[in-house]
C-alpha cells in the first residue's frame, strides 16, 4: 500500500512540481561536502549525501517502485540529473544503484533481490565492478580470472583492474572464467564477491588527475558461496552485455557534456572570449550537440523504463557523448590561455579548471568499451557490414 502510494506520488506529479521538489530537497539536504568537484569524491566524504538520499528513498531514480526505486519517467530522470548538475551535487558511489541493481532485477533470484537490493538502497553495500583485466580490456571476453567450484563454494583466483572507486567498495561483481574448453564468450560466469574476505587485495592506481579513482583488485583463493552466482553457470557474457548496455546508456547520458558546457561558458566569461563571434559559433555548435544528445538519451531511458532490451545501437550515444565531452574540454584548453596549464582550479573555483575537465574527459572514450571497439560493433551489428 505504501509502495503504491509512493508510486502515485511521482507518476501523478507534474514535471514542474517534481523539479521544484528535487531542487528544494537538494538545497535543504546537501551536506557540507564539496560541490562542483571535478574529481569523484570517495565514499568517506560523500557518504552523508548517499545517506540523505537513502532516507528520502531517492537512491535509485530509475528502479521500479516495487523494488524500492522511484520509477521515474525519462523526463523526470533527466530533471533529477539536471538539478543535481545545477547544484553541483557530488556523484555518489552509484555502481550499485546504476549497474548491479537493474541487473539483479532482471536476472537475480528472489533471494538475491531480497538480499542485495535493500542494502544498495540503504548504502550498506557499496559495489565495485570487476570486469577489465590487464590483458582483457577492449577484448573483455578474454578474462582469465578463474572461478572453480569446490563443494558448495566458488574458489576465485585472478586479477581485475580499473575498478572505479574499488577502494570504497565492500562488494564487487566479477566476470570469471568457469569453462576454458569452449569459445571464450561461452565460459564466463557472473559472481558476487564480498571484498572483506581473506585473499582479496585492493591496490589503488593514481590517474592523470592525481586521483586514486581506479583500483586493481587481486583474488587469491577467495571462497564465496555457490549461490553468489547470478544467472546460470557460463551465462555471464549475456549479463555482461546487458550490463554494458546499461553502462553505455549511463556514459551516454548528457550529464558530463552538459556540465562541461556550463564550465566552458564560465571560463569563456572569465578569460574574456565569451563575446567573440568565433567562440560563440563554436559554443553554439557544442550546445546544439548537447541538445540533440539529450533527445537521443531520452529515447533510451524510455526503453529501459519499459523493460525493453538495449540494442547494440546504444553505442551511437556512448561514442557521441564521450567525444562531445572531449571536444568541450578541448575547447576549454584552447580558450583557457595560461589557466589551461594549471594543476588545480583557477582562483579556487572548481568549475574553472580546463586541465581537470580535459583529463577527466579522456577515459570516457576508453571505458565502457573503447570507442574503437564500439565502432566495430556498430559496423557489424547495426550496419550489418561484413567482418
Amino acid at each position: 500500500m505504501s509502495l503504491h502510494s509512493r508510486n502515485d506520488i511521482y507518476a501523478v506529479m507534474s514535471d514542474e512540481e517534481f523539479r521544484a521538489q528535487a531542487r528544494a530537497f537538494i538545497e535543504a539536504n546537501y551536506p557540507d561536502i564539496p560541490r562542483f568537484s571535478q574529481k569523484r569524491l570517495h565514499f568517506s566524504q560523500s557518504k552523508p549525501w548517499y545517506m540523505a538520499l537513502a532516507r528520502k528513498g531517492w537512491v535509485a531514480p530509475a528502479w521500479p517502485v516495487e523494488h524500492g526505486g522511484m520509477g521515474l519517467s525519462a523526463t523526470k530522470q533527466l530533471i533529477w540529473i539536471e538539478e543535481n548538475e545545477r547544484f553541483g551535487a557530488a556523484r555518489i558511489n552509484d555502481i550499485g544503484p546504476v549497474m548491479l541493481g537493474p541487473l539483479l532485477i532482471q536476472f537475480g533470484t528472489d533471494a538475491q533481490k531480497a538480499q542485495f537490493l535493500p542494502k544498495i538502497l540503504s548504502g550498506e553495500h557499496i559495489w565495485a565492478q570487476g570486469y577489465s583485466e590487464p590483458n582483457a580490456g577492449s577484448d573483455l571476453a578474454a578474462v582469465r580470472t578463474e572461478a572453480v567450484l569446490d563443494g558448495d563454494e566458488w574458489v576465485i583466483n585472478g586479477q581485475k583492474t580499473w575498478a572505479t572507486l574499488g577502494n570504497d567498495a565492500n562488494w564487487i561483481f566479477i566476470l570469471a572464467r568457469t569453462d576454458k574448453s569452449v569459445k571464450k564468450q561461452a565460459g564466463i560466469s557472473f559472481i558476487l564477491v564480498p571484498m572483506d574476505l581473506p585473499g582479496v587485495t585492493v591496490r589503488p592506481i593514481e590517474n592523470l588527475e592525481m586521483h586514486d579513482e581506479f583500483c586493481e583488485v587481486f583474488f587469491d583463493d577467495v571462497r564465496v558461496p555457490r549461490e553468489n552466482l547470478v544467472g546460470a553457470v557460463n551465462q555471464g557474457w549475456t549479463m555482461a552485455k546487458a550490463l554494458l548496455g546499461h553502462e553505455r546508456v549511463f556514459i551516454g547520458a548528457p550529464r558530463l557534456s552538459s556540465s562541461a558546457l556550463a564550465r566552458l561558458d564560465l571560463l569563456a566569461r572569465k578569460v574574456g572570449v565569451a563575446d567573440d563571434p568565433a567562440f560563440q559559433d563554436r559554443f553554439t555548435r557544442l550546445r546544439l550537440d548537447v541538445a540533440d544528445l539529450t533527445a537521443l538519451f531520452e529515447t533510451y531511458i524510455e526503453k529501459l523504463r519499459h523493460g525493453e532490451a538495449i540494442g547494440a545501437d546504444v553505442s551511437i550515444m556512448k561514442i557521441f557523448q564521450s567525444e562531445l565531452y572531449q571536444r568541450i574540454s578541448e575547447e576549454m584548453m584552447a580558450i583557457g590561455g595560461a589557466t589551461a596549464a594549471l594543476l588545480e582550479p583557477f582562483e579556487h573555483d572548481p568549475r574553472l579548471h580546463a586541465a581537470g575537465t580535459y583529463l577527466m574527459a579522456r577515459p570516457t572514450t576508453i571505458f565502457g568499451g573503447s570507442n574503437e571497439v564500439l565502432r566495430n560493433v556498430l559496423a557489424r551489428m547495426v550496419l550489418d557490414l561484413p567482418a
Partner: protein, 349 residues
Amino acid sequence: MTDLAEIEMIRDSARAFVPPGGDLVRIRGLRFGEAGFDPAIYRQMAEMGWLMLRLPEEEGGLGLGMRAYCALAAVLGAGLVPEPLIHANLAVRLLGAGVGDAVLAGTRIVLPAWQAGFDGLDLAAGVTGAAGGLSGEKRFVYQAAGADAFLVTGAEGGWLVEAGAEGVSLECEGTQDGGHFGSLRLAGVSAERIDLIDPAAALDEAALATSAYLLGVAETAFEMTLDYLRVRKQFDKPIGSFQSLQHRATDLKMQLALLRAGVDMAAGALDAGVDDARRSALVSQVKVRAADTAMLVAREAVQMHGAIGFTDEHDVGLFVRKAMTLANQFGSAAFHRRRFAAMQPYAAA
C-alpha cells in the same frame, strides 16, 4: 664551421646530455617540488653555453641562429627537461651581455616576468614604474620559485627585481607538468629602468623555441605510442595491426611532418633575416601547428594506450602534461591564428 655543422654539433651535445626519451626518473623526481627543476643541472646546461646561444660572439656569446636554438629546444622537449631554459634565454635576449656573467654561467637565475593577461604576447601590461617605485602584478611566471631575480617588463622597458627585495611577493600554483606558475606582486619596489633589446623579436623567438620544444614532446609521445601499438595485444593481435589505428597513427605522423617542416622553415627564415611583420606571421604559423599538434598527439597517445595511458604511473602521461602546460605559452593557437591573419592579410595570387 658551417651553419649545418654547428646545428649538428649542438644537437649531438644536447642528445648526449638529454638522451632521447630523457631521464624520466629524474623528471618524475622533480615534479611538484618547490623549484620544479634542478639548479645544479641548470648550471651544467649553462656551462654548455645554452644560455648564451643567441648572444653575439662579440659580446662573448656563441652567436648561433634560431636553427641551432630550435634544434636544442626540440631535444630538450624530447627529454621533457623542466629547467626553464627558454624562459631564461628570453631574459638574456632582452638584456644582452649586460645580464652579467653569473647569469650566463647559470649561478644566478633570472626569469622573465612578462605576462599579465591570460593569453597573447603583450609584455607591457600589469605594472607601472611611477615615482613611488614599481607596482603591479605579473602572472604565469614559469618556474618562478627557482629564480634569484625577475626581469619585469613594462611599456617603456624593464626592471631587474631581486626575488627577496622589499615590496616583492611571489605566490605559486602548480602546473600540470609538475612545475608551477608564479604570480609576482610588486608594491613600490625600487628598481632601475633598463632598456629592452627588441622585445617583439625576443618574444617571437621564445614562441618559436617553444614550438620546437613541443615538437620534441610530441615526437617522443608519438614514438612511445607506436611502440605500444606494436606490442599490445588484444583479440590475439597487436593492436597496431588494426586499420583504424594505423590510419590515425598516420594522421599524427602527417601533422608532425608539417610541424617539423614549419619549425625548420621559420627558423631558417629568421636566420636569413625578414621584416618584423613577416617574422611574426611565420612564428604564428608555426606556433599554431605546434600547439594543435602537441595536443592532438597527447590525446591520441592516451587513447591508443587505453586505460593504462590514463594512469599517472605510465610515462606517456608526462608528455601529455607537458603538452598541456606549454601549448598556450607565448600565445595560444587561437591568438596566433588571429595574429597571422592580421600580420599577413590574404591576397589572392
